[in-house]
Amino acid sequence: MTRRWVGFAVFLVLLLAVEWGTRTGFISPLTLPKPSDVLQTFAELYSSGLLFQHLLPSLSRLAVGAALGASLGIGVGLLMGLFSFIRAGLVPLVAAIFPIPKIALLPLFVIWFGIDEGSKYALIAFGTFTPTVVATYAAVDNVDRTLIRMGQSFGLSWLSIVRKIVLPGAMPGILAGLRISLAIAIILLVAAEMLGAEYGIGAYILEAGSLYDLERLFAGVVILSVLGVLVSAVIGAIEKRVLNWRS
C-alpha cells in the first residue's frame, strides 16, 4: 500500500519544486510554465467546452485505430505462433516493417485512405499492429511445451488445445505486448493529429506550440500523460482479472 504512494509523492515533489522555482524566478517563465497556471488553463479548457471538442475526436481515433491494430495483430500473431508455414512466411515481413517509423508513412496513408479519419485510423492501427504481432507470436511460442504435449497425450482436439492451453498460456505475453502497443498508439495519435487535424489533442498541442503558449502546451501534455496512465490502468485491471492464477 505504501509503495503506491511513493509514485504520487515523486510527482508531487517535482511539481512543488517547479512551482517554487517559477515563483521565485529561479526557473525563467520561458523555460517552464507555472504548474498552477497550467492547472488554470486546464480549468478554462474544461469550462469553455473546448476540452471535449479536442478530447472526443482523439479518443475515438485512438479507440478505432488501436482496436483495429491490436485485434489484427493478435490474430496474425496467433496464426504465426500456431502454423510454422505462416510463421516462415511472415517473420521476415514483420521484421522488415517493424523498424519503419510509421509516421513516415502518413503521407502515403493520406493518399490511400483520405485526409480525414481514415488515414489516422490506418496510421494508429499500423503502428499498433506490428508490436502486437511480435508480442503475440512470441507469447504463443513460449507456451510451455509440456502442457501442449499433455493435451495431445489425453487426446484433446486441436481446437481444445488452442483454446484451453495455448491461448490462456499466451495471455500474459499478449497483455504485456498490449501495454507497449497502446502507448505507441497514443504517440502516433498525436503525430497524426499534428500533421493534419482541426480538433484533437495533437492539434491543440501543435497550435499552442506554434504560439509558444507553454501553459496550453503543458495542459495538452498532461492530458496525454493521464491518457497513458488510464490505458495502463485498464490493462492492469484486465491482467488482474484474467491472470489471477499467477501469484
Binding site: R149, S153, S160
Partner: protein, 255 residues
C-alpha cells in the same frame, strides 16, 4: 488390455538408442523400467504411448480397452503438466470436456476421483498453492478419471523430495490395491522400482537392451520402506546396473 513389444529398435540421427526390445506389459500389473541415464527409457515409453514410431519392430495392443475407458494410454509426467490457470477440479475436468462429459456426470466423476486421491478439500485450489507432491496427486487424479487401460509414468516422483516420494508411493500402492491398474513406470530410482514393480526391467546403457527382467512375488501392499528382502533385490539390481551406469557416465563426459 496388454502391451506387447516385439523387437523394438530405434535411433536418432544415426545413433542407436534402443535395440531388440521384447517386452510384455501384462494387464493389472506395474512394470518398472530402470536403466542408466540416456538408455532410452523415456523413448521406449513414448513408443508405448504411440507418441513415437519405432524404426524397427512393433508395439502391439492386445485385447480391448475397458468399455468406460476414455483414453487407453495415459501419461503421467515428471513435471506434473498441470494448467496453472485451472483449479484442481478444472484440471481434472479438462480431460473430460473433449469427451462431451459435462455438468452433473462430470462433477460426479471428478468428485469420485478427487476422493480416491484424497484431494476433495482442494478441488477449488490453484496449482501454485499446492506442494509438489499434491500437484503430482492432481496429475494422478487426472489420469485416473479417464480410466486408462495402461498408465505410462515417466519418472513421476523424480521432481519430489524423498519424504514426499515415500508418501506418494504409499498412495499409488493403496490406489492399486483398491483397483489394480496396468502401468509402465520408468524410473532411475531403484527403491521406487522394488516398492512398486511387479516386474522390473533392467535396460543396459545405450543402445538400450533388456539385460534382465526381475519378478517380485511379494504383494505390493505387503512391501514397506526398508524391507530386508526388498533391499536384497535392490542390491541385486544395483549390481546389474552399476557397471552400466559407470560406463554411461564416462560416455557422457567423453561426449
Amino acid at each position: 488390455m496388454e502391451l506387447r513389444l516385439r523387437g523394438v529398435g530405434h535411433g536418432y540421427g544415426g545413433r542407436e538408442v534402443l535395440r531388440g526390445i521384447d517386452l510384455d506389459i501384462p494387464a493389472g500389473q506395474i512394470v518398472c523400467i530402470v536403466g542408466p541415464s540416456g538408455c532410452g527409457k523415456s523413448t521406449l515409453l513414448r513408443m508405448m504411448g504411440g507418441l513415437e514410431e519405432p524404426d524397427l519392430g512393433e508395439v502391439l495392443q492386445v485385447g480391448q480397452a475397458p468399455e468406460d475407458c476414455l483414453n487407453p494410454l495415459t501419461y503421467i509426467f515428471q513435471d506434473f503438466a498441470l494448467l496453472p490457470w485451472r483449479t484442481v477440479a478444472g484440471n481434472v475436468s479438462l480431460v473430460l470436456e473433449d469427451h462431451e462429459i459435462k455438468g452433473v456426470d462430470a462433477s460426479a466423476m471428478i468428485k469420485d476421483v478427487l476422493q480416491r486421491t484424497r484431494l476433495s478439500d482442494f478441488a477449488d485450489t490453484l496449482p501454485r498453492q499446492l506442494s509438489g507432491g499434491m500437484k503430482q496427486r492432481v496429475a494422478i487424479a487426472r489420469a485416473l478419471v479417464v480410466n486408462p487401460a495402461v498408465m505410462l509414468m515417466d519418472e513421476p516422483l523424480s521432481a519430489l523430495d524423498s519424504q514426499t516420494r515415500e508418501l506418494l508411493m504409499d498412495d499409488l500402492i493403496s490406489l492399486w490395491t483398491r483397483t489394480p491398474f496396468t502401468a509402465v513406470y520408468v524410473t532411475h530410482n531403484l527403491a521406487e522400482a522394488v516398492r512398486l514393480g511387479h516386474r522390473i526391467v533392467v535396460l543396459s546403457r545405450r543402445p538400450g537392451e533388456v539385460r534382465e527382467v526381475v519378478t517380485l512375488e511379494k504383494p505390493l501392499e505387503a512391501r514397506a520402506y526398508g524391507d530386508a528382502d526388498l533391499e536384497v533385490k535392490q542390491k541385486h539390481l544395483w549390481e546389474l546396473m552399476r557397471a552400466e551406469a559407470a560406463a554411461a557416465d564416462a560416455e557422457l563426459i567423453g561426449g
